[in-house]
């Protein structure tokens, strides 16, 4: 599995409610980490046993958030593609932008004989 490097920035520590407020983004995000939403994480979900364990637990909390940020990033107008050309002739694809989605399911093609 490949996942991006993740940045986190602790905004606030709340020892009374045993939680922290954190911002996450991927290292190569195209905007500042300060522009992303903050999330609240309970101490229960953080491993304080060592600095490395702490970072590991922050990565495991941040990874799904960062992937969501990535998916929700706006699409540049010049990158808007068509959903499919439905051809196996490579010439039909030349110069066209085709969007293949991350949805890996689909319907089998039924043929009537």
């Amino acid at each position: 599995m490949i996942s991006p490097n993740i940045l986190f920035k602790v905004i606030r520590n709340d020892p009374i409610n045993k939680s922290i407020v954190v911002k996450f983004c991927r290292e190569n995000a195209q905007k500042s980490i300060d522009e992303y939403k903050s999330v609240n994480i309970s101490y229960r979900n953080i491993d304080f046993s060592s600095p490395k364990a702490f970072e590991d637990s922050m990565r495991s909390r941040g990874n799904p958030l960062v992937m969501k940020q990535l998916i929700n990033e706006p699409i540049l107008d010049q990158n808007k593609g068509v959903s499919g050309i439905f051809s196996t002739n490579i010439d039909d694809y030349i110069g066209k932008i085709v969007c293949t989605t991350s949805d890996t399911s689909g319907s089998l093609n039924k043929v009537t004989l």
Partner: protein, 172 residues
């Protein structure tokens, strides 16, 4: 997340589903019975081994084979690819539903279920052909990979495998 060792996608119809796995030599899977409905696998290319986790019960598979995995459907299964692979899994929606399958041979230029069922009309059986590779021709229609069709008792189907592979799947 990008899993660069294995690309997987699914295709479904009302009666069954297929999962397609393309990956690299050395790729290992471990699946629980809750996640696994695969009862047959066609190996487009590649070699490997699959079996019940932590037992000696395993089978080897290789190119252009239809592998019967029905007996593993309720077990924890591990597999390892010993070559780069392209595998098409045939999945049932109900693990207790009985299915049978085989590949159609080069010699079978005509498919007639009457001969398969020994002239007794099947009551509940349904039979499907699924294109697993190449561009076989059935009743003058050229199929492409993952095309499927239900075939009916009493009808006759002219088959030219044309170098391709057709699976015959029977829901008993």
């Amino acid at each position: 997340m990008i899993d660069d060792g294995n690309k997987r996608f699914y295709r479904r119809c009302d009666e069954f589903a297929i999962c397609v796995n393309l990956g690299k030599k050395g790729y290992v899977t471990a699946e629980s019975p809750e996640d696994r409905n695969t009862i047959f696998q066609y190996i487009v290319y590649g070699k490997g081994k699959a079996g019940i986790m932590f037992t000696e019960d395993n089978i080897e598979f290789k190119d252009r084979e239809l592998v019967d995995l029905r007996r593993y459907v309720h077990d924890y299964v591990m597999s390892i690819a010993t070559e780069d692979f392209f595998i098409i899994g045939f999945n049932t929606y109900d693990k207790y539903q009985k299915w049978d399958a085989r590949l159609i041979t080069e010699e079978e230029t005509e498919l007639n279920l009457r001969t398969i069922y020994d002239k007794i009309e099947p009551v509940n059986s349904r039979t499907f052909i699924l294109c697993l590779d190449g561009k076989p021709i059935v009743n003058d229609k050229r199929l492409k990979r993952y095309d499927y069709s239900e075939v009916f008792f009493g009808n006759s189907y002219k088959i030219d495998l044309n170098g391709g592979v057709l699976g015959l799947f029977v829901q008993c």
